[in-house]
């Protein structure tokens, strides 16, 4: 039952898909395996029981010029990108909405000249950070490109600032603008309290103008690549759960799946540390804060068309064309208070953003698609040592007056790889306020969901909570998603993915970090170059 290939790729996110496409189209026999049911990693378009399409995870990509092999899909018309005119609109209760337009001049029209100047300065700084990073990521020549810049070589002062400090630094007094700029990095999954988060803010404010969506859903990009892999005879296996790793010294001789199939290859590419001989990274990950926010995801489908936001018609026209619609905070202080308050038992405020129905442009009769991403407090810590993790979890829980249930020796996560326990997700389970025994977790979930839906309905013109016919909620503990603690900052700083090989073995680790994966297509060439070098 063993099948052998030239290259075995574990993990079918865009990196894995691009790599498999590139190799397959150059005549290599590849197999692409993923533990998930659906391919694409964070890029996934889904429709569940209803006809409406949802974007699960990232629906957007950055930049216009995509490297091969994905570039061909854009050139030959398999996928089409759309650039939203208004990437972000923010709703206030007592003020008109503030929109960040793709065209900065239109954004400035809403602002006093002083704020415009400050925002322009921030975006200019962001442009150079963004462009240099994208260029470095996209240029495989500079494989190079994958070498860490020496610390301290960057000159941007933003690496030493938090978001709040940057807003002061650039002289932005407008409370509405400060609220929006505080909200933006948080909504996109970045911890605004960390030093260096200012750099992420700058890159994101500029990056929003370079953001594009895949018309009809990011799933078309994923399918465009899987179609090409299949066309070249590449094998793709979903829900492929590795049960046994057979080794000869450092060399992985075969991988046996839970369904009985077995695969082998002279080169195995994976993002999974657990495949290394020690089951750990070859070198420790950079230190990151031990607490962060998790992302709650809600997907909603209303019986009736929500009819847009309850705003005067001129404002509604603009906001209803926005990709993200933020709401819930009236100023930046409330955001910071919210983050602090959420460390208590229950969140005090419902805030979030709706990803508006950008599929309408795809001429599909989808009516009422919306989704909500809600940052929700939880704790995580990054270490490979289970004891350290456990100690930290106990400390965090104690600070919040909670205890941790007995350790789960066989902790696994939903990805199904069970070679090594993954303590982080188990730890979330332990310290999330609503998964402790003291609180009824499902009661909490339900009340939280209801409050969120009510708040959304309040913002929308035509729907009532009773009109909701489909609601899907994923908690951070389920998705393993937390705010990225300085991850983007590190990438901007030049800490680019380095693809490690255990030189005596046949494993190549895809070290692309999470933020870099959100830069999506730009990271693939580096991985392809690393694999090519290895094959050569």
């Amino acid at each position: 039952m063993n099948r052998s290939f030239d290259v075995l790729i574990l993990g079918a996110d865009l990196n894995g898909l691009n790599l498999a496409t590139s190799l397959a189209e150059r005549g290599k026999r590849v197999a692409l395996l993923d533990t998930a049911l659906k391919l694409g990693g964070p890029f996934r378009t889904e429709s569940f029981l209803t006809s409406h399409r949802y974007e699960l995870g990232a629906g957007w990509i950055l930049g216009e010029h995509h490297p091969e092999p994905a570039a061909t899909l854009f050139e030959n018309g398999t996928v089409h990108s759309m650039r939203p005119e208004i990437p972000l609109a923010y709703l206030f209760d007592d003020r008109p909405p503030l929109c960040l337009y793709r065209d900065p001049d239109r954004t400035f029209e809403q602002l006093a000249s002083r704020d415009s100047r400050g925002l322009l300065a921030l975006m200019t700084e962001g442009e150079s950070l963004f462009e240099s990073t994208v260029i470095r990521l996209a240029n495989p020549e500079a494989a190079e490109g994958y070498r860490r810049s020496p610390p301290g070589t960057s000159t941007s002062p933003l690496f030493d600032m938090t978001v709040r400090e940057a807003l002061d630094h650039f002289g932005l007094p407008d409370p509405a603008l400060r609220c929006v700029l505080t909200y933006l990095p948080l909504a996109l999954g970045h911890d605004i309290r960390s030093t260096g988060s200012a750099a992420a803010l700058a890159a994101l404010v500029y990056g929003m103008s370079r953001m594009s969506l895949i018309s009809g859903g990011a799933g078309l990009l994923v399918n465009g690549l899987t179609d090409r892999i299949s066309r070249q005879g590449g094998l793709i296996c979903e829900a492929a759960k590795v049960q046994t790793v057979n080794r000869d010294g450092n060399r992985i001789t075969s991988l046996e799946l839970a369904d009985g199939r077995s695969f082998s290859a002279p080169l195995i590419v994976s993002g999974d540390d657990s495949l290394t001989p020690t089951g750990q990274r070859d070198e420790p990950a950079a230190a990151v804060p031990d607490e962060s926010l998790g992302i709650l995801r809600m997907y909603l489908d209303f019986l009736h068309d929500p009819g847009g936001f309850a705003l005067p018609s001129d404002q509604a026209r603009a906001v209803n064309r926005a990709y993200l619609v933020g709401f819930g905070f009236e100023n930046e202080h409330e955001i910071h208070e919210h983050l602090a308050a959420m460390r208590g038992s229950q969140p005090q405020r419902i805030a979030g953003h709706l990803i508006n129905n950008h599929f309408q442009e795809a001429a599909e009769p989808v009516g009422a698609l919306s989704s909500l991403n809600e940052p929700l407090w939880c704790a995580s810590c990054h270490s490979t040592d289970p004891e350290t993790l456990r100690q930290r979890a106990t400390d965090i829980a104690a600070r919040h007056g909670r205890t941790i249930p007995s350790p789960q020796a066989t902790a696994t996560d939903h990805t199904g790889v069970r070679i090594r326990p993954r303590p982080v997700s188990a730890m979330w389970q332990s310290v999330l306020p609503f998964t402790t025994r003291a609180v009824d977790p499902e009661g909490f979930r339900r009340s939280y969901e209801q409050a969120t839906v009510r708040e959304i309905c309040r913002r929308l013109a035509k729907v009532e909570p009773d009109d909701l016919r489909f609601r899907l909620t994923w908690l951070p503990a389920e998705t393993g998603e937390s705010l990225m603690d300085g991850d983007l900052t590190r990438i901007l700083h030049g800490d680019l993915p380095r693809h490690q090989q255990n030189t005596t073995g046949n494993l190549l680790l895809d070290r692309t970090s999470r933020s870099a994966r959100y830069l999506s297509l730009q990271t693939a060439p580096g991985l392809i170059a690393a694999v090519d070098q290895r094959i050569a």
């Binding site: 429709s47 018309s215 399918n223 499902e442």
Partner: protein
């Protein structure tokens, strides 16, 4: 300008995908048009919570399809395994039965109620066994309508039941079960699959008796990577052989001139532009009767064909689907007596008495259906490995009575009645569900306009489309074919596309390549033999 030999409109599981894969593999250049992002929409698998997998259609009959071997679906990454427990049935009195692949284990459970019934059931299955492949071939894998083949199937069926054909065509399902089995309990245990209208209407003479008998021909399998992996495997075979899938693209009309279909007009969603695609040899419509008619526009059609498409009616009984995620496994009153009961992939909740069953069958078309005795529960945890999530996934499918647009307004009352009906009979913790999603026929319809009334049990075997009244694979419009699949849920045996592809080969005078030669049920028979050999050694 993209030209194809053959264009397939609609990449459904049963019709469009297998037709495209067979014809592409046979050497044609095929373009497959799909309005969505993913193909095989009604055979999707999805996670309502990460790691908690559901299937849109949780039943998988691919193991009897010749496509398993013809198209080498396993080579394309598809994995199917045969289950050790088939399904269970329980009534409201705590009686229960669990069905196994091993006939003796089933018979011993029936013997408790009637030795004679068990013997009768054994005889019927033994009578059918030698004709299994032939019946599968006639019922699924032959173009229709074909009077001679239908008569042959009738004769085999009548012989199996030890009655005459004349008698058989006068007998409905209720009468048949009453004449075969003396114990009401046997009848209640043996009726669920056909009673849920997989095949036909039990209350119609002839159709009713055959619907019950033919349900015994089915063999189900489980695909560990989700039922959607069948869709993916078909896609890969099609692509591997050079096919094109045009996604996010709708068919707007068929291009017919001088009664010959030259191609299709499609609309690409991203730019809302239309363009023409030429098909040199054939166009296959996998869009169902009413949409096919619409695509033909004002093309003059022969009266009989026009009438057939216009009068195409789906069964009036429709179903609603609920997906529950539970914090603990469902408890079953029947489970302590047989631990396998709770391990069944599927449990049918049936009537307390035979009288109730008969009443339900008689009333189900005229009154609001009760949930009593018409509930199919799929325990996803018994099919897929959800152990890492600590959650329990339960799919419930039940009848809703005749279809009407008012169904949407009845969502809540339906749900309330179903919950109380279920929980009073079994301590299923539905009230504590972490997540509950309901889909009505309107949802299905919106998801797939080809499925008129959103009926999940439409197609070839129901009421107005019983066997000889099927839509033809070859239409009176030259070069236009239909893959004759309206709702693929119960059609994972991939017959309609197989048949449409075969008709086109014949029509074009092409000989089927050697790989296109496997019998229905062949993969299943081989796998059973392998398993036996494995067990023996």
């Amino acid at each position: 300008m993209s030209d194809y030999d053959i264009i397939v409109a609609g990449a459904g599981l049963a019709g469009g995908l297998p037709a495209a894969a067979y014809l592409q593999k046979a050497g044609f250049k095929v373009g497959l048009i799909e309005r969505g992002v993913d193909t095989g929409k009604f055979y999707h698998s999805y996670e309502l919570h990460p790691g908690v997998m559901f299937d849109h259609s949780p039943v998988n009959f691919s193991c009897i399809s010749p496509a398993m071997l013809d198209l080498d679906l396993e080579g394309a990454g598809y994995v199917a395994r045969l289950p050790s427990i088939l399904h269970s049935v329980t009534d409201g009195n705590g009686n229960h039965m669990t069905f196994y692949p091993n006939l003796e284990r089933n018979l011993s459970q029936l013997e408790v109620y009637s030795k004679r019934d068990a013997a009768r059931f054994r005889t019927i299955l033994q009578n059918l066994q030698p004709h299994w492949v032939r019946l599968l071939r006639i019922l699924f894998y032959s173009p229709h309508p074909d009077r001679a083949r239908y008569d042959e199937a009738l004769q085999i069926s009548a012989d199996a039941l030890d009655m005459s054909v004349e008698e058989l065509v006068r007998t409905n399902g209720i009468q048949l079960l009453e004449s075969l089995f003396e114990s009401e309990q046997s009848r209640i245990f043996l009726i669920p699959l056909p009673a849920l209208h997989l095949f036909g209407d039990l209350s119609v003479p002839g159709q009713g008796a055959l619907a019950w008998l033919w349900a015994l021909l089915l063999r189900a399998c489980i695909s560990p990577a989700g039922n959607q992996s069948l869709v993916r495997a078909l896609e890969r075979v099609f692509l591997q052989h050079g096919g094109d899938i045009l996604r996010n693209t709708s068919v707007e009309s068929f291009d017919v001139s001088n009664n010959r279909c030259e191609g299709v007009v499609v609309r690409t969603h991203h730019d809302d532009q239309t363009r023409s695609l030429r098909a040199r040899e054939a166009v296959i419509s996998n869009l169902g009767a009413s949409l096919t008619l619409k695509m033909l526009g004002d093309t003059p059609l022969p009266e009989s064909f026009d009438r057939q498409l216009k009068n195409w009616s789906m069964a009036k009984r429709v179903l609603a689907v609920h997906d529950f995620i539970l914090p603990e496994p469902p408890q079953w009153t029947a489970a302590p007596a047989n631990p396998d009961f709770a391990r069944s992939p599927r449990i049918y909740l049936v009537w307390n008495t035979w009288h109730e069953c008969v009443q339900w069958l008689e009333n189900s078309l005229t009154e609001e259906a009760t949930f009593h005795g018409d509930v199919e529960m799929t325990l996803m945890n018994n099919i897929y490995d959800h152990s890492a999530t600590g959650k329990y996934a339960l799919r419930i499918r039940h009848g809703t009575g005749p279809y009407s647009m008012e169904l949407e307004e009845k969502r809540q009352p339906f749900t309330d009645r179903m919950l109380s009906s279920l929980t009073t009979r079994n301590p299923i913790p539905l009230q504590r569900a972490i997540s509950h999603q309901m889909a009505t026929p309107l949802d299905f319809w919106r998801a797939n306009p080809a499925a008129l009334h959103g009926n999940p049990v439409g197609g070839d075997f129901i009421e107005g489309q019983w066997m000889l009244d099927r839509c033809p694979y070859e239409t009176p419009v030259e070069h236009l074919y239909m893959s004759n699949s309206v709702w693929p849920t119960a059609m994972s045996w991939l017959a309609p596309g197989y048949n449409a592809a075969g008709v086109i080969m014949d029509r074009l005078g092409r000989k089927r390549p050697s790989w296109w030669s496997h019998e229905p049920g062949e993969w299943f028979t081989r796998r059973v033999a392998q398993r036996r050999a494995g067990a023996a050694s």
